[in-house]
Every structure is written in C-alpha cells, then in structure tokens.
C-alpha cells in the first residue's frame, strides 16, 4: 500500500479571526442571522409545546373539527405544515447568507494579501 502518511490535522491557514469577527461585514451577517434564527426558533418551540400543554391540561382540542376528526389532529397536522414550511424558509434564507459569507471571505483574503 503506497498511501501517504499524513497527520489527522492538516496544516491550517492562519486567518486573523479576531479581525474578521470585528469587521462590520461579519457583525452585520451575524446580526441578520440571529434576527432570523432566534424568533423562528422561539416560535416553533412555543407552537410545538402548545400541543402537549393543551392536551395535558385541557380538553379544548377534543371537540370535532371536520366530521369526526377532532381539533387535536388538525393541530398535529399543522405541526407538519409548520415543519415543512420553516424548512423551506430556512434554506431560502441560508442561501442568502451564503453569498454574504463569501463576500466576507473574499474581502478578508484580499486584505490579508495586501498586508504583506
């Protein structure tokens, strides 16, 4: 076997992470990300836990909604719709963040190059 022996950690490029972290572009990306991720996460966790809270401590979901299908099934199905929808929304948003991350990337690499 003529496999090359190499170490588990390949030599890493030494980026100035603190400079990137302090750059306005990076700060704006993180702010935008958090502004999207945090409220949505809070929303879906609240929506999710509302179901067992309502079923455990009340009977409001036990009345029929459509024919003999009770509200609890409707609410449960809404969790599925929510999951699918938020999944698609996430991808759309994240693809947008990608291009911003790339800008930071390029901008930074250029700066590093000109410093030397």
């Amino acid at each position: 076997m003529e496999h090359k022996v190499h170490h588990t950690t390949p030599p890493q490029q030494n980026h100035d992470y603190e400079a990137i972290a302090a750059s306005p572009e990076f700060k704006s990306l993180v702010r935008k990300k958090n502004k999207f991720l945090l409220p949505v996460t809070v929303f879906f966790l609240l929506f999710y836990f509302t179901l067992p809270l309502l079923t455990s401590f009340s009977t409001v979901l036990n009345s029929p909604a459509i024919g003999d299908i009770t509200w609890v099934w409707v609410f449960a199905f809404a969790q599925f719709i929510m999951t699918w929808a938020l999944c698609m929304i996430y991808v759309k948003k994240a693809n947008g963040f990608d291009s911003e991350a790339e800008t930071i990337f390029n901008l930074h690499n250029k700066n590093e190059g000109s410093d030397r």
Partner: protein, 507 residues
C-alpha cells in the same frame, strides 16, 4: 418461515452485502471510513438521514402505539419531526463547519483540551450503548417472532451483520444500506397505507368515524389521554423527543458525510419531506392495524404492539406483503445499528485513541486499524449487553438515550456555538451534570422501581416521572452556566475563531 419470507430475507441480506463489498474497495482512509470521504450528494445523504430516523422504533413502534393508544401514539411522530427544526436551525451548519468526524471535534474546536474530548467521547459512547441495546433487544424479539429462531441467535445474527457492514464498508456501506432500506420502507408503507385507504373507499372522514367504534378505547381513541394521563410526564417526554434528536451521535455524524454546509442543508430538506410523509402515513398504519387486525391480536403477538405493522400487512396483502414488510423491518434494524456502531467506534478510535492517546499523530494506517478494532469492540460489547437485557423494556432504553442526548450534549453544543463567556469548566460541568442527572433520575424512576414488582426492582420510585428530561435538560444548561461563571474568563480570541468558522465555513 415461508419460502416467500426466506426469499425476501435472503434478497435483502444479499443486496446489502453486495453494497458492502462495493464500498469496501473505496474505503481506504480514515476519512472514507468515518464519513465516506464527505462524498455523499444532498439527496443521498437526505435519504440516509431519513433512514436513520425511520428506525424500527418508528416503523414498528409508532404503528403499534397508534393502533393501541390512538392519538397518544401519534405524539412520537410529531416530536421526532419537529426535532428536525431544532437540528436545522440550531445545530446542523455550525456542526458541519466546526467538526470533522465527531461531536467532540466540534467542542474541542473551541476548547483544545483532552479532558473535554474525553468527556464528550464518554457521553457519546453512553448514548450509543443505550440506544444500541434498545435496538438489539427489539431486533432480537422481532426476528424471533418473524423467523421463529431463538432470541440469542437473532441478536447474534444482527450483531454479525452490522459488524460486517461497518468493518468492511465503513460509512459508504452504512449509508447505502440506509438508503436502500429507507426506499424499501417508504414503498412498503405507501402500499399498506394505500390498501388501508382503499378499505375506507378513500374517504378519510369515514376512516376517522369508524375508528370511534372499532377499538376498546371507543370514542376516546381519537383524543389524547388514552395512555398518557400524567401531564408533566407527557411534557417531559415531548422535551426529550424534540431536543434529544439534536444530540444523538449517529444523527450528528450524518452532517460530516457531505462536502459543505450547503449540501448538509439540502440533505435536511430531502429528509424532512420523506420523514414528514412517513409520519403522516403512520396514522394509516396505526388505524389500519386497529381496524383490520384488532387490539387483542396485536397485544397477543407483542404486548408493546411492535407487531402491528407486519400483522396489518398480513391482513391486507397476505403472505407476500407480510414477508416483504418483515424483511424491510429487518433491514431497518440492521441499517440503524450499523450507523450506531460507526458513531460509537469513531468516539473510541478517533477521539480516545487518535486524538488523546496518539495526540493526533496517528498514521492513516493506524487510524484505520483503530477504527476497525473499535467497531468490533463496540459491536461485541453491545451484543453481550443485549443478550443479558432481553427482558428490559425497549421504549425505556430509547427514551433514556434521548434524555441523555438532550441533557448532556445539547447544552454544550448550544453554548459552544452561541455563548462568548462559555469556557472549559462550563463545558465539562454541563456534560457531566447532564449525563449523571439523566442516569440517576432514571435509576430512581418508575421504569426501574415498581411497588408490584413489574419493573426491574420492587419498591416505590423516588422520582415520579418516567422521563426525567423536564428536570435533567435544564439542569445540564444551568450546570454549564454556573460552571462558566465561577471559573476563569473565557478565551475571547478562540471564540472569535469559532464564531467566524461556524457562521461562514471559513477553514
């Protein structure tokens, strides 16, 4: 066993072994072994992630739970699905950007300390072992029923198969076995659901109406509360389900098998659609089994209801469908335990041997050797434990694995990525406290103690809940918080690096 059953069984074993042979030729490095070289495409990894979710517990367990308990069984489907959003929104991309093979890689990306890596590896191994014993005990009981062989032979058979896949084919074989099984499982589920709908003249309203009269629960079958009557315990279970998934090692490992965060993202989308569709169909499996098999017969075959789906297949499609579904159930178990072996082996071979003992200086050859030895070790240990655990309740073992994952792993993952002040002491106290509190609370719970002696020991439980997540998850978070505040300041420079890497994918 019927000739037909034997045919499907042999066909599936043959196909998966062929895939393993094919994969073995392209598994020459540690990276290929652990992550298939990061070479899976979005849809391939998506189906494989879906396959990891659609374990025997999902297919057999949820179908049975809905058939016996109506809406209460459907709680699992909802919990597992929404858990996807936690994975996608909080964990998936930072993990992909920071880690290499394991969860410990990601945490040590911020804290380069061996005791942290060791703690993360131990928590991973604990979760893997509990999950694996659960799968193996369930597999043994199921194969015993399906093929009419002894429990210990069944467990040994599964043990040999899973070791073979991992040992020779690594992640490539494990992923493709998972993909094949996921496709077969979806086909089987869609066929059964179609046949159930046909029996109700494709009228869903009629199906719900008839369910009010065909089960012992009567009208209550369509409402929550048939099984879960303790509200706090239900909440606790729902916490473990939705937060535990994001800490399960064999699920997290899937994000390293693709080339970048963008592909990881697209694979989660494929998986969400497949898994969501599957969980909707569990309603038809459960209702169908309740209506056309009947709860008496389901309980007679297996008290927990695990045989509901195969029995329904028998009732609707005769021996042909029953044999197909049984073979697919077998493949499901094999694929999931193979993934578990791999994630356990990576914690052993990569974290403990490669990084701690060899300090990251192991050659490619040494790494491969360690990975293979660790796979055999993890397999052998779990098979031995499973042989002694035959009488243990499978659902209890699975819920324990989820609870440890949510209590020990999730707090440290979230803090590592998002909290600037987090430090080494915080990381260790979060993991250790989460792990220990989950284990201790379960050891004091009604799963272990029962006054009438129906659990492991006879006596009154000291802790009232069957699932401790509602206590142990906050405890894990609080321990990480306090641990960080009482000790030295965090390394700001290192956090800047982690924040940049996690958010941009810059290496």
């Amino acid at each position: 066993m019927s000739v037909l059953g034997l045919f499907f069984f042999v066909a599936i074993v043959g196909l998966t072994l062929y895939v393993t042979y094919w994969a073995s030729k392209r598994t020459n490095s540690a990276s290929e072994f652990y992550t298939a070289g990061g070479g899976l495409t979005g849809w391939q990894n998506g189906i494989a992630i879906a396959g990891d979710y659609l374990s025997a517990a999902s297919f057999l367990g949820i179908a049975g739970a809905i058939a016996l308990n109506g809406f209460d069984g459907f709680f699992y489907s909802i919990g597992y699905l929404v858990a996807y959003l936690v994975v996608l929104y909080i964990v998936a991309e930072p993990l992909r950007n920071l880690g290499k093979y394991t969860l410990a890689d990601m945490i040590t990306a911020r804290f380069e300390q061996q005791k942290i890596r060791a703690t993360a590896a131990i928590s991973t191994l604990t979760i893997v072992l509990f999950y694996m014993i659960a799968q193996l005990v369930g597999a043994g009981a199921l194969i015993q029923l399906l093929l009419g062989i002894d429990y210990w032979i069944a467990v040994l058979l599964v043990g040999i198969m899973m070791t073979t896949y991992v040992l020779f084919g690594g992640m490539a074989a494990t992923s493709w076995v998972q993909i094949i099984k996921a496709v077969l499982l979806m086909v089987g589920t869609i066929i059964i659901s179609f046949l159930v709908l046909m029996k109700f003249d494709f009228n869903i309203l009629r199906m719900f109406s008839e369910m009010k009269t065909v089960t012992p629960a009567g009208e209550n079958f369509l409402n929550p509360g048939v099984k879960y009557t303790n509200g706090i315990d239900t909440m606790s279970m729902m916490i473990a389900l939705v937060l535990g998934t994001a800490g399960l090692p064999h699920i997290l490992m899937r994000f390293f098998t693709v080339k970048d965060a963008k592909t990881a993202r697209s694979s989660v989308v494929y998986a969400t659609w497949i898994v969501g569709l599957f969980y909707i169909l569990t309603i038809f499996l459960g209702f169908g089994a309740a209506a056309f098999v009947g709860s008496d017969e389901i309980i007679a075959a297996n008290a927990a209801g695990n045989m509901a789906a195969p029995l329904l297949a028998q009732a609707l499609g005769g021996d042909l469908l029953m044999s197909f579904v049984s073979a697919v159930a077998f493949a499901t178990i094999l694929a999931v335990v193979a993934g578990l072996v791999l994630s356990g082996a990576s914690a052993f071979a990569h974290d403990i041997y490669g990084q701690i003992i060899k300090k990251g200086q192991a050659t490619e050859k040494e790494q491969m050797k360690a990975a293979r030895f660790a796979s055999i070790g993890v397999s052998a240990l779990s098979v031995i434990l499973a042989l002694f655990a035959q009488s243990m309740n499978v659902a209890f073992l699975v819920s324990l694995a989820f609870c440890i994952a949510a209590s020990a792993n999730l707090p440290v993952i979230i803090y590592t990525i998002y909290w600037k002040r987090f430090n080494t002491t915080g990381a260790i106290s979060a993991m250790v406290t989460g792990l220990v509190s989950a284990l201790v609370l379960v050891a004091m719970s009604p799963n272990v103690w029962n006054p009438e002696g129906t659990a492991i020991f006879a006596g009154d439980p000291l802790f009232p809940l069957t699932n401790p997540a509602i206590v142990s998850v906050p405890v894990g978070f609080i321990a990480g918080y306090i641990g960080s505040l009482v000790s030295a300041k965090a390394d700001k420079r290192k956090y800047a690096e982690v924040a940049v890497k996690a958010n941009t994918g810059l290496k």
